[in-house]
Protein backbone atom coordinates (compact mmCIF):
# COMPACT_ATOMS: atom_id res chain seq x y z
CA UNK A 1 0.00 0.00 0.00
CA UNK A 2 1.07 3.56 -0.72
CA UNK A 3 3.35 4.43 2.22
CA UNK A 4 2.92 8.20 1.78
CA UNK A 5 -0.85 7.84 1.99
CA UNK A 6 -0.72 5.53 5.00
CA UNK A 7 1.51 7.96 6.89
CA UNK A 8 -0.91 10.86 6.34
CA UNK A 9 -4.25 9.06 6.55
CA UNK A 10 -6.91 11.03 8.42
CA UNK A 11 -9.07 9.56 11.15
CA UNK A 12 -12.48 8.20 10.20
CA UNK A 13 -14.27 10.99 12.11
CA UNK A 14 -12.20 13.68 10.39
CA UNK A 15 -12.85 12.09 7.00
CA UNK A 16 -16.61 12.02 7.60
CA UNK A 17 -16.60 15.57 8.94
CA UNK A 18 -14.70 16.81 5.84
CA UNK A 19 -17.20 15.03 3.58
CA UNK A 20 -20.08 16.69 5.47
CA UNK A 21 -18.44 20.09 4.77
CA UNK A 22 -18.04 19.24 1.10
CA UNK A 23 -21.44 17.61 0.70
CA UNK A 24 -23.85 19.02 3.29
CA UNK A 25 -26.67 16.94 1.78
CA UNK A 26 -25.04 13.78 3.17
CA UNK A 27 -24.54 15.18 6.68
CA UNK A 28 -27.83 13.86 8.11
CA UNK A 29 -26.83 10.29 7.18
CA UNK A 30 -23.11 10.48 7.95
CA UNK A 31 -23.49 12.02 11.41
CA UNK A 32 -25.52 8.95 12.51
CA UNK A 33 -22.51 6.75 11.79
CA UNK A 34 -19.78 9.05 13.15
CA UNK A 35 -19.77 7.61 16.72
CA UNK A 36 -19.69 4.06 15.27
CA UNK A 37 -16.66 4.79 13.08
CA UNK A 38 -14.88 6.56 15.94
CA UNK A 39 -15.52 3.57 18.24
CA UNK A 40 -14.29 1.10 15.59
CA UNK A 41 -11.10 3.13 15.19
CA UNK A 42 -10.52 3.33 18.92
CA UNK A 43 -11.05 -0.41 19.29
CA UNK A 44 -8.30 -1.24 16.80
CA UNK A 45 -5.74 0.12 19.24
CA UNK A 46 -7.46 -0.70 22.56
CA UNK A 47 -7.80 -4.38 21.52
CA UNK A 48 -4.06 -4.71 20.94
CA UNK A 49 -3.60 -5.98 24.51
CA UNK A 50 -6.17 -8.76 24.28
CA UNK A 51 -5.39 -9.96 20.75
CA UNK A 52 -2.26 -11.90 19.93
CA UNK A 53 -0.56 -12.55 16.60
CA UNK A 54 -2.20 -15.16 14.36
CA UNK A 55 0.16 -17.88 13.05
CA UNK A 56 -1.90 -18.07 9.82
CA UNK A 57 -0.92 -14.46 9.07
CA UNK A 58 2.63 -14.57 10.42
CA UNK A 59 3.50 -17.58 8.27
CA UNK A 60 1.14 -17.37 5.28
CA UNK A 61 0.41 -20.61 3.49
CA UNK A 62 1.79 -20.05 -0.04
CA UNK A 63 -0.43 -22.78 -1.48
CA UNK A 64 -3.55 -21.13 -0.04
CA UNK A 65 -2.54 -17.82 -1.59
CA UNK A 66 -1.80 -19.19 -5.04
CA UNK A 67 -5.06 -21.17 -5.08
CA UNK A 68 -7.26 -18.32 -3.88
CA UNK A 69 -7.97 -19.66 -0.39
CA UNK A 70 -8.06 -16.91 2.29
CA UNK A 71 -5.51 -17.36 5.06
CA UNK A 72 -8.12 -17.52 7.83
CA UNK A 73 -10.20 -20.19 6.06
CA UNK A 74 -10.56 -23.18 8.40
CA UNK A 75 -8.61 -21.33 11.11
CA UNK A 76 -9.57 -21.87 14.72
CA UNK A 77 -11.26 -18.95 16.50
CA UNK A 78 -10.98 -20.26 20.08
CA UNK A 79 -9.13 -17.06 20.99
CA UNK A 80 -11.86 -14.69 19.84
CA UNK A 81 -14.45 -14.91 22.66
CA UNK A 82 -12.97 -12.25 24.96
CA UNK A 83 -12.00 -9.65 22.33
CA UNK A 84 -15.30 -10.15 20.48
CA UNK A 85 -17.27 -9.48 23.67
CA UNK A 86 -15.08 -6.47 24.46
CA UNK A 87 -15.68 -5.12 20.96
CA UNK A 88 -19.44 -5.76 21.22
CA UNK A 89 -19.59 -3.67 24.40
CA UNK A 90 -18.01 -0.75 22.57
CA UNK A 91 -19.80 -1.11 19.23
CA UNK A 92 -23.41 -2.02 20.02
CA UNK A 93 -24.21 1.17 22.02
CA UNK A 94 -22.97 3.21 19.04
CA UNK A 95 -25.71 1.71 16.89
CA UNK A 96 -28.42 3.16 19.13
CA UNK A 97 -29.12 5.76 16.41
CA UNK A 98 -30.58 2.97 14.25
CA UNK A 99 -33.95 2.84 16.02
CA UNK A 100 -35.35 0.08 13.82
CA UNK A 101 -32.66 -2.27 15.15
CA UNK A 102 -32.96 -1.40 18.86
CA UNK A 103 -34.68 -4.67 19.87
CA UNK A 104 -32.26 -6.80 17.80
CA UNK A 105 -29.22 -5.05 19.24
CA UNK A 106 -30.45 -5.57 22.80
CA UNK A 107 -31.19 -9.26 22.22
CA UNK A 108 -27.85 -9.80 20.47
CA UNK A 109 -25.99 -8.15 23.40
CA UNK A 110 -27.90 -10.26 25.93
CA UNK A 111 -27.15 -13.42 23.94
CA UNK A 112 -23.44 -12.67 24.11
CA UNK A 113 -23.60 -11.83 27.80
CA UNK A 114 -25.51 -15.00 28.72
CA UNK A 115 -23.15 -17.18 26.70
CA UNK A 116 -25.95 -18.45 24.43
CA UNK A 117 -24.42 -16.67 21.47
CA UNK A 118 -20.89 -18.12 21.17
CA UNK A 119 -18.47 -15.81 19.30
CA UNK A 120 -16.14 -18.57 18.06
CA UNK A 121 -18.91 -20.51 16.30
CA UNK A 122 -20.58 -17.31 15.11
CA UNK A 123 -17.33 -16.04 13.59
CA UNK A 124 -16.51 -19.40 11.99
CA UNK A 125 -19.95 -19.47 10.35
CA UNK A 126 -19.68 -15.84 9.25
CA UNK A 127 -16.22 -16.17 7.71
CA UNK A 128 -17.03 -19.38 5.88
CA UNK A 129 -20.15 -17.68 4.41
CA UNK A 130 -22.17 -20.55 5.88
CA UNK A 131 -25.55 -18.81 5.64
CA UNK A 132 -27.53 -21.74 7.01
CA UNK A 133 -25.45 -22.00 10.19
CA UNK A 134 -25.41 -18.23 10.60
CA UNK A 135 -29.22 -18.09 10.45
CA UNK A 136 -29.44 -20.97 12.92
CA UNK A 137 -27.04 -19.31 15.36
CA UNK A 138 -28.51 -15.80 15.21
CA UNK A 139 -32.22 -16.59 14.73
CA UNK A 140 -33.11 -16.70 18.47
CA UNK A 141 -31.73 -13.15 18.87
CA UNK A 142 -32.41 -11.13 15.75
CA UNK A 143 -35.36 -10.68 13.39
CA UNK A 144 -33.48 -11.34 10.16
CA UNK A 145 -30.27 -13.00 9.03
CA UNK A 146 -29.07 -9.75 7.45
CA UNK A 147 -29.29 -7.91 10.80
CA UNK A 148 -27.36 -10.74 12.49
CA UNK A 149 -24.69 -10.57 9.79
CA UNK A 150 -24.52 -6.75 10.02
CA UNK A 151 -24.03 -6.76 13.81
CA UNK A 152 -21.45 -9.55 13.59
CA UNK A 153 -19.56 -7.69 10.85
CA UNK A 154 -19.46 -4.43 12.79
CA UNK A 155 -18.03 -6.16 15.87
CA UNK A 156 -15.74 -8.62 14.12
CA UNK A 157 -14.12 -6.01 11.85
CA UNK A 158 -12.09 -4.16 14.54
CA UNK A 159 -11.12 -7.49 16.20
CA UNK A 160 -9.68 -8.87 12.96
CA UNK A 161 -8.06 -5.51 12.23
CA UNK A 162 -6.32 -5.61 15.62
CA UNK A 163 -5.27 -9.24 15.00
CA UNK A 164 -3.77 -8.24 11.64
CA UNK A 165 -1.85 -5.41 13.28
CA UNK A 166 -0.56 -7.77 15.98
CA UNK A 167 0.59 -10.25 13.33
CA UNK A 168 2.75 -7.72 11.46
CA UNK A 169 3.03 -7.32 7.68
CA UNK A 170 1.67 -10.36 5.81
CA UNK A 171 3.16 -11.05 2.39
CA UNK A 172 0.20 -11.68 0.07
CA UNK A 173 1.93 -10.78 -3.21
CA UNK A 174 0.87 -14.07 -4.80
CA UNK A 175 -2.82 -13.28 -4.28
CA UNK A 176 -4.84 -12.53 -7.47
CA UNK A 177 -8.43 -12.62 -6.24
CA UNK A 178 -10.99 -9.85 -5.78
CA UNK A 179 -11.77 -10.94 -2.20
CA UNK A 180 -9.55 -10.41 0.82
CA UNK A 181 -6.52 -12.72 1.16
CA UNK A 182 -6.88 -12.58 4.95
CA UNK A 183 -10.58 -13.10 5.70
CA UNK A 184 -12.16 -13.70 2.27
CA UNK A 185 -14.56 -10.71 2.40
CA UNK A 186 -15.28 -8.53 -0.63
CA UNK A 187 -13.82 -5.00 -0.81
CA UNK A 188 -15.91 -2.03 0.27
CA UNK A 189 -13.70 0.42 -1.65
CA UNK A 190 -10.51 0.57 -3.69
CA UNK A 191 -7.88 3.22 -4.30
CA UNK A 192 -5.23 4.12 -6.86
CA UNK A 193 -1.92 4.97 -5.17
CA UNK A 194 0.23 8.05 -5.70
CA UNK A 195 3.50 7.92 -7.60
CA UNK A 196 6.82 7.72 -5.81
CA UNK A 197 8.37 11.22 -6.29
CA UNK A 198 11.79 9.63 -6.64
CA UNK A 199 10.72 7.10 -9.22
CA UNK A 200 11.95 9.04 -12.24
CA UNK A 201 14.13 12.10 -12.78
CA UNK A 202 12.32 12.99 -15.97
CA UNK A 203 8.61 12.37 -15.74
CA UNK A 204 5.91 12.40 -13.10
CA UNK A 205 4.35 9.18 -14.38
CA UNK A 206 3.84 6.12 -12.28
CA UNK A 207 1.52 5.60 -9.37
CA UNK A 208 -1.99 4.46 -10.10
CA UNK A 209 -1.38 1.03 -8.61
CA UNK A 210 -4.74 -0.32 -7.54
CA UNK A 211 -5.47 -1.57 -4.03
CA UNK A 212 -8.70 -3.03 -2.74
CA UNK A 213 -9.77 -2.40 0.86
CA UNK A 214 -11.44 -5.22 2.76
CA UNK A 215 -14.95 -4.43 4.01
CA UNK A 216 -14.37 -6.53 7.13
CA UNK A 217 -10.76 -6.60 8.35
CA UNK A 218 -9.50 -3.43 6.59
CA UNK A 219 -6.68 -5.23 4.78
CA UNK A 220 -5.44 -3.61 1.55
CA UNK A 221 -4.24 -5.80 -1.29
CA UNK A 222 -3.02 -5.19 -4.79
CA UNK A 223 -5.42 -6.00 -7.62
CA UNK A 224 -5.35 -5.71 -11.42
CA UNK A 225 -6.87 -2.42 -12.57
CA UNK A 226 -8.63 -3.78 -15.63
CA UNK A 227 -10.28 -6.74 -13.90
CA UNK A 228 -13.59 -7.01 -12.06
CA UNK A 229 -13.10 -8.07 -8.42
CA UNK A 230 -16.54 -9.70 -8.50
CA UNK A 231 -16.27 -12.02 -11.51
CA UNK A 232 -12.62 -11.70 -12.59
CA UNK A 233 -13.77 -10.41 -16.00
CA UNK A 234 -10.58 -9.16 -17.68
CA UNK A 235 -11.83 -8.40 -21.18
CA UNK A 236 -10.75 -5.03 -22.62
CA UNK A 237 -13.13 -2.34 -21.34
CA UNK A 238 -14.49 -4.66 -18.63
CA UNK A 239 -14.53 -1.83 -16.09
CA UNK A 240 -16.65 1.26 -16.66
CA UNK A 241 -16.68 4.39 -14.49
CA UNK A 242 -19.34 6.61 -12.99
CA UNK A 243 -18.26 9.86 -11.33
CA UNK A 244 -19.50 13.27 -10.20
CA UNK A 245 -17.82 16.16 -12.07
CA UNK A 246 -16.95 18.13 -8.93
CA UNK A 247 -14.98 15.29 -7.32
CA UNK A 248 -13.25 13.53 -10.23
CA UNK A 249 -11.11 11.40 -7.91
CA UNK A 250 -14.17 9.59 -6.55
CA UNK A 251 -15.75 7.07 -8.86
CA UNK A 252 -17.77 3.91 -9.14
CA UNK A 253 -15.97 1.13 -11.01
CA UNK A 254 -18.56 -1.20 -12.43
CA UNK A 255 -18.71 -4.41 -14.40
CA UNK A 256 -21.65 -4.91 -16.76
CA UNK A 257 -21.01 -8.64 -16.91
CA UNK A 258 -21.82 -9.38 -13.26
CA UNK A 259 -23.58 -6.03 -12.65
CA UNK A 260 -21.59 -5.22 -9.54
CA UNK A 261 -19.44 -2.24 -8.57
CA UNK A 262 -16.77 -1.14 -6.11
CA UNK A 263 -16.27 2.56 -5.28
CA UNK A 264 -12.75 3.80 -5.90
CA UNK A 265 -10.68 6.89 -5.15
CA UNK A 266 -7.76 8.05 -7.25
CA UNK A 267 -5.29 9.51 -4.74
CA UNK A 268 -3.28 11.05 -7.59
CA UNK A 269 -6.10 13.48 -8.28
CA UNK A 270 -6.61 14.85 -4.77
CA UNK A 271 -4.79 16.28 -1.79
CA UNK A 272 -7.13 14.40 0.55
CA UNK A 273 -5.91 11.38 2.57
CA UNK A 274 -9.20 9.91 3.72
CA UNK A 275 -9.80 6.90 5.93
CA UNK A 276 -11.00 4.33 3.40
CA UNK A 277 -13.76 2.83 5.57
CA UNK A 278 -15.25 6.27 6.15
CA UNK A 279 -14.74 7.29 2.53
CA UNK A 280 -16.75 4.30 1.32
CA UNK A 281 -19.67 5.56 3.41
CA UNK A 282 -19.12 9.12 2.16
CA UNK A 283 -19.59 8.07 -1.47
CA UNK A 284 -23.29 7.52 -0.87
CA UNK A 285 -24.23 9.88 -3.71
CA UNK A 286 -22.45 7.59 -6.17
CA UNK A 287 -24.04 4.50 -4.57
CA UNK A 288 -27.42 6.08 -5.36
CA UNK A 289 -26.35 6.70 -8.94
CA UNK A 290 -25.15 3.10 -9.24
CA UNK A 291 -28.46 1.83 -7.86
CA UNK A 292 -30.25 3.85 -10.57
CA UNK A 293 -28.12 2.01 -13.12
CA UNK A 294 -29.33 -1.30 -11.65
CA UNK A 295 -25.93 -2.17 -10.15
CA UNK A 296 -25.31 -3.99 -6.89
CA UNK A 297 -22.44 -3.16 -4.50
CA UNK A 298 -19.94 -5.98 -4.20
CA UNK A 299 -19.91 -5.48 -0.42
CA UNK A 300 -23.50 -4.61 0.50
CA UNK A 301 -24.14 -2.55 3.64
CA UNK A 302 -27.21 -0.82 5.04
CA UNK A 303 -26.11 2.48 3.52
CA UNK A 304 -25.46 1.31 -0.02
CA UNK A 305 -28.45 -0.89 -0.70
CA UNK A 306 -31.71 0.78 -1.71
CA UNK A 307 -35.16 -0.69 -2.26
Amino acid sequence: MDALYLAKRKSASQTLSDICDRRPALASVLTVFMPLYAAREELRSSLQGSVSALPELQHPNAEFLSQGVPLLANASFDWIDAPFKEAAKAILPQLAGLEALAADIEAYAKGLESGKLVPSTLVAAYLSSDAKSLVKITKPFVASASVGAFLTQQILGPVLHAARNASGETDTAAWRQGYCPVCGSFPSIGCLGRPDPDQSEFAKGGGGKKFLHCSLCGNDWHFRRGACPGCNNEEPGAIEYLRAPDTPWERIEMCRKCNTYVPNIDLRETTENPDLDAESLGMLHLDLKAAEEGLKPLAPAFWNTFD
Partner: protein, 245 residues
Amino acid sequence: MSKSFLIDTTRCTACRGCQLACKEWYELPANKTLQMGTHQNPPDLNPNNYKLVRFSEHLIGDKVEWYFFPDQCRHCLTPPCMGAADTVLEGAVIQDEKTGAVIFTEKSAKIAKADFEYIREACPYDIPRRDEKTGRMSKCIMCIDRVQAGKLPACVQACPTGTMNFGEREDMLALAEKRLAKVKKTHPNAVLADPYDVNVIYLLGDSPERYHTHSVAEAPAMGRRQLFASLRSGIGSGRSGVHKG
Protein backbone atom coordinates in the same frame (compact mmCIF):
# COMPACT_ATOMS: atom_id res chain seq x y z
CA MET B 1 -0.22 24.15 8.97
CA SER B 2 -0.80 25.74 5.57
CA LYS B 3 -0.48 24.26 2.11
CA SER B 4 2.67 24.75 0.06
CA PHE B 5 4.04 24.23 -3.43
CA LEU B 6 7.44 22.82 -4.22
CA ILE B 7 8.54 23.98 -7.67
CA ASP B 8 11.52 21.85 -8.61
CA THR B 9 13.04 23.81 -11.50
CA THR B 10 15.63 21.08 -12.09
CA ARG B 11 12.80 18.98 -13.53
CA CYS B 12 11.17 21.75 -15.59
CA THR B 13 11.26 21.35 -19.38
CA ALA B 14 9.39 24.63 -19.99
CA CYS B 15 6.49 22.84 -21.61
CA ARG B 16 4.24 25.58 -20.18
CA GLY B 17 1.53 23.07 -19.29
CA CYS B 18 1.18 24.84 -15.91
CA GLN B 19 0.82 28.25 -17.56
CA LEU B 20 -1.90 27.01 -19.90
CA ALA B 21 -3.71 24.99 -17.24
CA CYS B 22 -3.93 28.16 -15.14
CA LYS B 23 -5.36 30.14 -18.08
CA GLU B 24 -7.81 27.34 -18.84
CA TRP B 25 -9.08 27.06 -15.27
CA TYR B 26 -9.64 30.79 -14.90
CA GLU B 27 -10.81 31.16 -18.51
CA LEU B 28 -8.36 34.00 -19.05
CA PRO B 29 -8.24 35.50 -22.54
CA ALA B 30 -5.25 35.30 -24.87
CA ASN B 31 -2.70 38.10 -25.10
CA LYS B 32 -1.67 39.58 -28.40
CA THR B 33 2.11 39.25 -28.44
CA LEU B 34 4.97 39.83 -30.85
CA GLN B 35 7.97 37.66 -31.65
CA MET B 36 10.69 39.24 -29.52
CA GLY B 37 13.36 36.61 -30.09
CA THR B 38 12.57 34.65 -26.95
CA HIS B 39 10.41 31.66 -26.17
CA GLN B 40 9.09 33.48 -23.11
CA ASN B 41 5.54 34.26 -24.09
CA PRO B 42 3.88 36.50 -23.02
CA PRO B 43 6.84 38.68 -22.05
CA ASP B 44 5.66 39.22 -18.48
CA LEU B 45 2.98 38.40 -15.92
CA ASN B 46 -0.23 40.31 -16.68
CA PRO B 47 -3.92 40.22 -15.71
CA ASN B 48 -4.42 37.37 -18.23
CA ASN B 49 -1.45 35.31 -16.97
CA TYR B 50 -1.18 34.55 -13.26
CA LYS B 51 1.62 32.17 -14.08
CA LEU B 52 4.49 32.55 -16.54
CA VAL B 53 7.37 30.23 -17.40
CA ARG B 54 10.36 32.56 -17.66
CA PHE B 55 13.19 31.64 -20.02
CA SER B 56 16.77 32.82 -19.43
CA GLU B 57 19.82 31.82 -21.45
CA HIS B 58 23.39 32.22 -20.30
CA LEU B 59 26.67 31.54 -22.02
CA ILE B 60 28.53 29.50 -19.44
CA GLY B 61 32.00 28.58 -20.68
CA ASP B 62 31.42 27.75 -24.31
CA LYS B 63 27.96 26.40 -23.80
CA VAL B 64 24.56 28.10 -23.84
CA GLU B 65 22.56 27.04 -20.81
CA TRP B 66 18.78 27.45 -20.51
CA TYR B 67 17.09 28.25 -17.22
CA PHE B 68 13.36 27.84 -16.79
CA PHE B 69 11.43 29.52 -13.99
CA PRO B 70 7.65 28.97 -13.60
CA ASP B 71 6.94 32.32 -11.92
CA GLN B 72 3.89 32.89 -9.72
CA CYS B 73 2.80 34.43 -6.42
CA ARG B 74 4.80 32.96 -3.50
CA HIS B 75 1.89 33.16 -1.01
CA CYS B 76 4.21 34.61 1.63
CA LEU B 77 3.67 33.51 5.22
CA THR B 78 3.56 37.20 6.13
CA PRO B 79 2.43 38.88 2.89
CA PRO B 80 3.88 42.39 2.47
CA CYS B 81 1.27 43.09 -0.24
CA MET B 82 -1.48 42.57 2.33
CA GLY B 83 0.30 44.84 4.81
CA ALA B 84 0.59 47.52 2.15
CA ALA B 85 -2.97 47.06 0.85
CA ASP B 86 -4.40 47.27 4.36
CA THR B 87 -3.09 50.81 4.64
CA VAL B 88 -5.10 51.64 1.51
CA LEU B 89 -8.25 49.51 1.72
CA GLU B 90 -8.73 46.68 4.20
CA GLY B 91 -10.12 43.51 2.66
CA ALA B 92 -8.63 44.15 -0.79
CA VAL B 93 -5.97 41.53 -0.02
CA ILE B 94 -6.77 38.68 2.34
CA GLN B 95 -5.02 35.52 3.51
CA ASP B 96 -6.93 32.26 3.90
CA GLU B 97 -6.12 30.91 7.34
CA LYS B 98 -6.46 27.22 6.48
CA THR B 99 -4.42 27.11 3.28
CA GLY B 100 -2.24 30.22 3.62
CA ALA B 101 -3.43 31.42 0.18
CA VAL B 102 -3.06 35.17 -0.37
CA ILE B 103 -6.02 36.44 -2.37
CA PHE B 104 -6.80 39.73 -4.12
CA THR B 105 -10.52 40.30 -3.68
CA GLU B 106 -13.06 42.22 -5.75
CA LYS B 107 -12.49 45.16 -3.40
CA SER B 108 -9.08 45.60 -5.02
CA ALA B 109 -10.85 47.19 -8.02
CA LYS B 110 -11.46 50.25 -5.82
CA ILE B 111 -7.74 50.81 -5.32
CA ALA B 112 -6.34 53.70 -7.36
CA LYS B 113 -3.48 53.13 -9.76
CA ALA B 114 -0.97 55.04 -7.63
CA ASP B 115 -1.87 52.99 -4.57
CA PHE B 116 -1.62 49.80 -6.61
CA GLU B 117 1.94 50.76 -7.60
CA TYR B 118 2.77 51.11 -3.92
CA ILE B 119 1.32 47.62 -3.23
CA ARG B 120 3.25 46.17 -6.16
CA GLU B 121 6.48 47.70 -4.85
CA ALA B 122 5.86 46.06 -1.48
CA CYS B 123 6.05 42.62 -3.13
CA PRO B 124 9.65 41.37 -3.07
CA TYR B 125 8.88 39.12 -6.05
CA ASP B 126 7.15 41.71 -8.28
CA ILE B 127 3.97 39.68 -8.68
CA PRO B 128 0.88 41.94 -8.43
CA ARG B 129 -0.60 43.20 -11.70
CA ARG B 130 -3.61 45.40 -12.40
CA ASP B 131 -6.31 45.16 -15.03
CA GLU B 132 -6.42 48.67 -16.44
CA LYS B 133 -10.02 48.24 -17.64
CA THR B 134 -11.57 47.02 -14.37
CA GLY B 135 -8.96 48.30 -11.93
CA ARG B 136 -8.86 44.88 -10.30
CA MET B 137 -5.55 43.52 -9.01
CA SER B 138 -4.59 40.06 -10.17
CA LYS B 139 -2.23 37.17 -9.43
CA CYS B 140 -2.25 33.46 -8.58
CA ILE B 141 -4.74 32.65 -5.80
CA MET B 142 -3.52 29.07 -5.18
CA CYS B 143 -6.61 27.75 -7.00
CA ILE B 144 -8.35 28.27 -3.68
CA ASP B 145 -11.65 27.01 -5.13
CA ARG B 146 -10.04 23.76 -6.24
CA VAL B 147 -7.98 23.28 -3.08
CA GLN B 148 -10.97 23.81 -0.79
CA ALA B 149 -12.80 21.14 -2.79
CA GLY B 150 -9.93 18.67 -2.29
CA LYS B 151 -8.46 19.06 -5.79
CA LEU B 152 -4.88 19.89 -6.75
CA PRO B 153 -4.15 23.37 -8.17
CA ALA B 154 -4.57 23.34 -11.96
CA CYS B 155 -0.84 23.92 -12.62
CA VAL B 156 0.16 20.99 -10.40
CA GLN B 157 -2.43 18.71 -11.95
CA ALA B 158 -1.16 19.53 -15.45
CA CYS B 159 2.60 19.27 -14.82
CA PRO B 160 3.94 16.12 -16.52
CA THR B 161 7.48 16.23 -15.13
CA GLY B 162 7.04 16.44 -11.37
CA THR B 163 8.25 20.07 -11.27
CA MET B 164 5.04 21.26 -9.64
CA ASN B 165 4.23 19.61 -6.29
CA PHE B 166 1.57 20.59 -3.79
CA GLY B 167 0.58 19.44 -0.31
CA GLU B 168 0.85 20.12 3.40
CA ARG B 169 3.63 22.61 4.16
CA GLU B 170 5.62 20.20 6.34
CA ASP B 171 5.49 17.55 3.59
CA MET B 172 6.63 20.00 0.92
CA LEU B 173 9.47 21.28 3.11
CA ALA B 174 10.58 17.69 3.73
CA LEU B 175 10.37 16.88 0.01
CA ALA B 176 12.28 20.08 -0.79
CA GLU B 177 15.14 19.17 1.57
CA LYS B 178 15.21 15.62 0.21
CA ARG B 179 15.30 16.80 -3.40
CA LEU B 180 17.91 19.46 -2.60
CA ALA B 181 20.24 16.86 -1.10
CA LYS B 182 19.87 14.75 -4.24
CA VAL B 183 20.22 17.62 -6.71
CA LYS B 184 23.30 19.02 -4.93
CA LYS B 185 25.28 15.98 -6.13
CA THR B 186 24.97 17.16 -9.73
CA HIS B 187 24.22 20.88 -9.17
CA PRO B 188 26.51 22.03 -6.32
CA ASN B 189 25.06 25.57 -6.37
CA ALA B 190 21.47 24.35 -5.91
CA VAL B 191 19.41 26.23 -3.31
CA LEU B 192 15.90 26.52 -1.97
CA ALA B 193 14.49 30.02 -2.51
CA ASP B 194 13.31 31.59 0.77
CA PRO B 195 11.73 28.34 2.01
CA TYR B 196 10.87 29.65 5.48
CA ASP B 197 9.21 32.86 4.28
CA VAL B 198 6.92 31.60 1.53
CA ASN B 199 4.46 28.85 0.67
CA VAL B 200 5.77 28.51 -2.89
CA ILE B 201 9.21 27.01 -2.47
CA TYR B 202 11.50 26.92 -5.50
CA LEU B 203 14.33 24.47 -5.83
CA LEU B 204 16.85 26.26 -8.05
CA GLY B 205 19.64 24.27 -9.66
CA ASP B 206 22.02 27.24 -9.85
CA SER B 207 22.48 30.80 -8.56
CA PRO B 208 19.07 32.49 -8.21
CA GLU B 209 20.00 35.48 -10.40
CA ARG B 210 20.46 33.18 -13.38
CA TYR B 211 16.76 32.30 -13.27
CA HIS B 212 15.04 35.63 -12.76
CA THR B 213 15.72 39.00 -11.12
CA HIS B 214 13.05 38.31 -8.52
CA SER B 215 13.55 34.57 -8.02
CA VAL B 216 14.46 35.29 -4.39
CA ALA B 217 13.40 38.21 -2.24
CA GLU B 218 15.51 41.28 -2.12
CA ALA B 219 14.87 44.00 0.39
CA PRO B 220 13.80 47.18 -1.43
CA ALA B 221 14.76 50.52 0.02
CA MET B 222 11.99 51.22 2.48
CA GLY B 223 10.12 54.50 2.67
CA ARG B 224 8.21 55.47 5.81
CA ARG B 225 4.93 54.19 4.40
CA GLN B 226 6.45 50.81 3.48
CA LEU B 227 8.10 50.47 6.88
CA PHE B 228 4.74 51.09 8.51
CA ALA B 229 3.04 48.56 6.19
CA SER B 230 5.57 45.82 6.87
CA LEU B 231 5.34 46.40 10.61
CA ARG B 232 1.57 46.25 10.39
CA SER B 233 1.72 43.03 8.39
CA GLY B 234 4.11 41.48 10.94
CA ILE B 235 1.85 42.42 13.86
CA GLY B 236 -1.25 41.18 12.03
CA SER B 237 0.16 37.70 11.61
CA GLY B 238 1.44 37.47 15.18
CA ARG B 239 5.08 37.62 14.04
CA SER B 240 7.42 40.19 15.39
CA GLY B 241 9.88 42.30 13.52
CA VAL B 242 10.12 43.55 9.99
CA HIS B 243 9.42 40.98 7.35
CA LYS B 244 12.17 40.18 4.92
CA GLY B 245 11.52 42.21 1.84
